[in-house]
Symmetry: C2
Subunit: 216 residues, 2 copies
Amino acid sequence: MGAMAEGLRERKKRQTRQHLSDVATGLFLERGFDAVTIAEIARAADVSVNTVYNYFPTKEDLFLDRSRGIVDRLSRYVRGRDRGESAADAVLRELRIQVEGVSPTVGLMEGYERFMRVIEGADGLKARLWHVQQEVLQHLESTLQEESGAEPGDPTPVLVAGQLHWVHSTLTAYIGREMAAGRGAAEVSRDALVLLDDIEDLLGEKVLNYARRAAE
Amino acid sequence: MGAMAEGLRERKKRQTRQHLSDVATGLFLERGFDAVTIAEIARAADVSVNTVYNYFPTKEDLFLDRSRGIVDRLSRYVRGRDRGESAADAVLRELRIQVEGVSPTVGLMEGYERFMRVIEGADGLKARLWHVQQEVLQHLESTLQEESGAEPGDPTPVLVAGQLHWVHSTLTAYIGREMAAGRGAAEVSRDALVLLDDIEDLLGEKVLNYARRAAE
DNA sequence: TCAATATTTGGTGTCATTGCAATTTTTAAG
DNA sequence: CTTAAAAATTGCAATGACACCAAATATTGA
């Protein structure tokens, strides 16, 4: 058997993982993060507690499983910038696309407030999200160091990374807050676009022009 | 009896609290945060576990007790800005003073690397520090909203607060990293001043001039 | 010295998380 | 189809943070 065909075992593992995440998320949305125990999740999913831990190292992972693959989003925006675009240009352009498209990747999606409420009520989840943010930042720092070809020791790429990361986190924080307040995604999307203009207006020239890719 | 005289009870409480924090910090520095249990701390301090919890709500508080009173530091810088100074001017000036003075308030102090190592090895502590950062940011947001007299709904004060907070966190992150690498405080202080120049150079005009206090 | 008040403590319980050994399932090979 | 190795699941026990409560002690002002 080759690497192509996916064995029964692999399929069942993915299913079990998904099932666990779904069941757990459902319970969290219903009753809040802290009020649900791992034992309950296991019972509801019809597996043992140990099996839960086989798939998810911590309780937080059960809820944040969906939010993976975000770590390198900003880096990809920067690497994928067009000719003539700076790193900041690319990030702002891509973020505007996400916001205009009312994309869940920036927290725009009906019913997102329910997720927000769960997060707001659990410090453990907040801590975990901040951890993810740190990873995003570090990833972006390395990316900008490479993309800018700066000499080691030059703090500029790290500083610009910090600024671009701030743009992103400020945007998502705003969206999260507004969605948590119960506003509609379309409405928040409109306001977020204005906010992005304000943010761009606040950035320094150096930041806006950093790592500009040669035109043509 | 008046509020002046401090009774025996008050004195003993402060002593016990300090003693607990000292004993705990000593153990943490020796063996790391996770490797020390509350029970051990209680035993070493010759009190019961419950008494520890009487003074410190969580294990993290035992280590981070010293770092209190930081929440409104940035806000105080802004409120205390001189005539002719903008909010950013004041923050940059005060930070330069702290850095030049090799002040422990920005993490400059011989032996600080040991604290850093404890923090690096414990996610719970990192999470706690991020939480403090959030409080600093929120505090600064309110302050700038007041100090700028912006209409409610204007996002500018919040955005500028984010930028000033970024300046501060970038500086302390840099210092923390360098100190953790085992470099001397005086040396790191010098480099940090250069970094502050780079940071200032990166900020936008709008940020640098926000909430400027009328001269004279 | 007494009674009100605050502090300490021991006991008990919940829950996340880990380690381990026994058991069951899946897979690949014969 | 049988089978032995590999992987997954499970039960069981233990650790440690933290909460709750009632009994025991210490401190205070009167």
